[in-house]
Symmetry: C2
Subunit: 139 residues, 2 copies
DNA sequence: GTATCTGCAAAACATTTGCAATTCT
DNA sequence: AGAATTGCAAATGTTTTGCAGATAC
């Protein structure tokens, strides 16, 4: 699932996105992190490397990435929007204790009869609970 | 799935919620509507009936309902929080044309192996696309 | 009469917009 | 130079908080 750092520039170009430094760094951060970061955490993480970076650019860039189909939005909580550069079909689990959001594979699910006749463009599966690690610590 | 209007007061009491007029009306609206309303639409719909109603009360009440487990939050879009008084296991489909959010039944899903050892407290399945009605109109 | 609940006003956040400065070609 | 991109500052929108008044028991 992990993309090659070497190919990031080409990957952006192929998606119709001119790879500016800001865009490259933001995408690199998304690909390299497995934390499904928010705008805030992307901005904090990169502003030391790119001191002039603004949140507006982070917002603009993520919107562009989303429009060009190279990132998806994760709405697992109503008060935080997260982003994921892994656009393959998978679910997201958030631990309510350690707050981490992890991917999990979903079996390509059976046809949902109730949606016959509808065109499906996007689907998201979110699960919340307590992860094994946090369960263990609280014993 | 539809609850009896006669029982709403008891339903709230049983959930540990004192049924004030505001709370009753808000819950009645949630149960009676199949539109999965936002704070804004609940407020607009009820402020003619309860002219002194404030949005703060709508926010307070919905948070209380959620804490007591009688409503769930629907985060199908990042820019709108919707509420549902149907707390049974079901999915939500949003049509990107008519903007309607509809319920759909999901087969009680198979054990997800990747989540073995984790405690699941909540799960949401969101699908977006174009509903059959809108597809038909655009032919 | 004490607790709780409500609702106004202000504060806190998150996101968007307008526009001028910068960068790229 | 011309077009696209960036980033500041202000505007917008949503949700929360503090607190005073109203209501319920």
């Amino acid at each position: 699932m992990l993309k090659e750092i070497d190919n990031l520039e080409k990957y952006l170009r192929d998606a119709g996105i001119k790879p500016s430094i800001q865009r490259l760094k933001i995408f690199e951060y998304l690909v390299g992190s497995n934390s499904h970061p928010t705008v805030e955490s992307i901005y904090s993480a990169l502003s030391s490397q790119i001191p002039t970076l603004s949140k507006t650019t982070v917002y603009n860039t993520l919107k562009l990435f989303q429009q060009q189909g190279i990132v998806i939005i994760i709405n697992i909580e109503d008060n935080e929007t997260r982003f994921d550069a892994d656009i393959s079909y998978h679910g997201h689990f958030k631990c309510t204790v350690c707050k981490e959001v992890k991917d999990f594979p979903i079996p390509k699910h059976e046809q949902i009869e109730a949606l016959d006749g509808h065109d499906i463009s996007e689907s998201h599966f979110y699960i919340k609970g307590i992860c094994a690690k946090c369960k263990e610590l609280n014993k």
